[in-house]
């Protein structure tokens, strides 16, 4: 009996996992090589230890999900931050190419959706209904 319940749950989990993989992004928007190279730099420099994307990551700096499209910010604004650092953010001495790749990565992330949930998206049951 215990084994049967366990195996049944595991089968459900496997099916659910495949569905999640397939349906978690209906847009099928794919990254170009610059964005993927930027993602690699993001990981190698451990940017997520201080910054968040969709609220996931560190708490030291701001969430950068939509920094490219945010009024008053954007690519050039980010370039100077990344290139030279600030008082609290170290200068990582990145090459121009690495900076450009990071900007391409952040642009790709920005296009994937909004990190902030608008109050109108909150359903009365407490859940959200989000659309890109």
């Amino acid at each position: 009996m215990i084994r049967w319940i366990w195996v049944s749950l595991f089968i459900c989990f496997s099916g659910y996992t495949l569905l999640v993989y397939r349906e978690c992004d209906s847009t099928q928007a794919s990254a170009d090589s610059k964005a993927l190279a930027g993602m690699q730099t993001w990981q190698e420099k451990n940017c997520q230890s201080c910054h968040q994307l969709y609220g996931l990551g560190g708490y030291m700096g701001p969430d950068l999900t939509n920094v490219i499209s945010e009024p008053g910010k954007g690519s050039d604004y980010m370039k100077s931050f990344i290139k030279y650092g600030t008082g609290s953010m170290p200068n990582f001495n990145l090459t121009d190419n690495e900076v450009a790749n990071l900007i391409a990565f952040l642009d790709w992330v920005d296009k994937s959706g909004q990190s902030r949930v608008h109050p109108s998206s909150v359903h009365w049951t407490g859940t959200y209904n989000l659309s890109k």
Binding site: V20, C24, Q48, Y54, G113, Q114
Partner: protein, 473 residues
């Protein structure tokens, strides 16, 4: 206990101490980045803190399982060479991970922040552990009690989620950012469930041994809660990505299943508490205190988790220090307390000399009080950040964070006190571990196996003439 297992226990305790040390230093690096950036920047300290905490939890849990499995399976086949290979490969890889961190070489993934190729060594070590464990499982002489199911589930799901964590190496998974982040946090969420299974299984094992009542791990209600926990492990990870604009049904499934996992253990412990007599409580006082502490932390974290699992509330708490409070409360308050109860039970802390027990008690009280301050200050910081960011939309970031930083000074000081309290416990544990005789495990397995003997033994066990204090139930 074999020398390698003894070393592994000491290694896991050292990881605990390192986690708290790096955490305390990182808290100050967070507050004073201009100073720390010159020497030891936050982005270097954070992976050291997170990884040592993770390696403490996983090493402490697996060391306990390796120690208990002989008695739990009532078998002598423990694959000692395979077990040893796992231990040394695991510890060696962890050391290499820290060397990479020292040279600022990162992989930049949450939880596993080291370069991904080191994951291959972690994976290989885990396969050795699985071979050793499941070989014993197949040779067991009795129908497995629930804690064996929990250990087995945890070990298997760690493998599954660890592989899933690394699926981003395949182009298809990283071609879409929404898929990349969803799969990453699906595996992270389920992985927490995996090590919780290992740790709660250990907690259940100790309870069974302390009470002498094997039925605790065989009742229908207990199995019902186990399956509820397993369901949570599989499907309740979505609160991490509620705000990610993926398929809505993923969010709804997670919300519906919610954070019932904490209820499972409360129910198990409640049943156990009623069965303990005052005498038994007294004899295992220190180990029992750690378990009792974990109960309170479950209650506090359950409350927090229930609120955080409601998307409408999560909108304010997500990406704030409330998430950190939950993670720290669960890791230190629940997991660490259970693991300290487990190791304390193995090294028999209640039979240590009075002075050492006194130090452990002081460490226990200090760590509980400081953890509470630590936890409350994180929640306060989180409420402030959530309110100022989501409700007031205060910009720029530094201005929004200004009062949050003030509260985090309390958190940082509490972290230092917490480190001091825990250090007192860990040093005494390691001392007691070092004094354990290599033959201890055999005797432990013989006398504490599932063969009807109550594990509460008197001091005559030193002579090998072991007498149970309480008759078998």
């Amino acid at each position: 206990m074999s020398k390698s297992l003894q070393l592994y226990f000491a290694f896991s305790l050292a990881m605990l101490l390192l986690a708290l040390f790096f955490g305390a230093v990182a808290a100050f690096a967070f507050l004073y980045p201009e100073f720390y950036n010159k020497y030891l920047p936050f982005y270097q300290l954070r992976p050291m803190h997170v990884s040592s905490a993770l390696f403490w939890i996983i090493s402490g849990a697996t060391a306990g399982i390796l120690f208990y499995k002989k008695a739990a399976f009532d078998t002598t086949n423990s694959q000692p060479r395979v077990e040893k290979t796992f231990i040394y490969l695991w510890m060696g890889t962890v050391v290499v991970v820290f060397i990479f961190y020292a040279f600022k070489k990162f992989g930049g993934r949450e939880y596993w922040e080291f370069p991904p190729f080191l994951g291959l060594a972690i994976l290989a070590a885990w396969l050795f552990l699985m071979y050793s464990y499941y070989t014993s499982w197949t040779k067991r002489k009795k129908k497995p009690p629930l804690y064996v199911w929990m250990w087995s589930t945890g070990i298997l799901f760690f493998l599954i989620t660890f592989i899933e964590q690394n699926l981003y190496q395949l182009t298809w998974f990283r071609q879409s950012f929404l898929r990349e982040i969803t799969v990453q946090w699906k595996s992270n969420g389920a992985m927490v469930g995996a090590w919780n299974q290992m740790i709660y299984g250990t907690s259940l094992y100790i309870m069974v041994k302390m009470s002498g009542d094997e039925q605790i791990a065989r009742g229908r209600k207990t199995y019902f809660f186990y399956f509820l926990g397993l369901t949570n492990l599989m499907f309740n990870w979505g609160h991490h990505i509620y705000n990610v604009p993926g398929a809505s049904w993923i969010r709804h499934v997670s919300y519906a299943i919610s954070m019932t996992e904490w209820l499972i253990l409360i129910s198990i412990i409640q049943g156990f508490k009623a069965k303990l007599t005052e005498q038994r409580k007294y004899r295992h006082l220190l180990s029992y205190r750690f378990l009792i502490a974990s109960e309170y932390w479950i209650l506090l974290n359950l409350l927090l988790a229930l609120f955080m699992s409601i998307p409408a509330v999560n909108r304010y708490t997500h990406g704030t220090h409330i998430t950190v409070a939950h993670a720290m409360g669960a890791t230190i308050g629940i997991n660490t307390m259970i693991l300290l109860a487990s190791i304390g039970y193995i090294i028999k802390i209640d039979r240590l000399n009075v002075a050492r027990k006194k130090y452990i008690t002081i460490g226990f009280i200090t760590s509980q009080a400081s953890l509470l301050v630590f936890w409350l200050s994180l929640i306060t910081a989180g409420i402030l950040k959530g309110y100022r960011d989501v409700a007031l939309h205060i910009t720029p970031f530094q201005e929004m964070m200004r009062p949050v930083i003030s509260v985090l000074h309390v958190f940082a000081i509490a972290g230092v006190v917490l480190f001091a309290g825990m250090a007192l416990i860990v040093f005494n544990y390691i001392k007691a571990l070092a004094q354990m005789k290599p033959t201890h495990e055999k005797r432990f397995a013989k006398n504490e196996g599932l063969i009807g003997l109550n594990p509460i033994l008197n001091n005559s066990s030193k002579t090998g003439n072991v007498k149970p204090i309480v008759k078998p139930t």
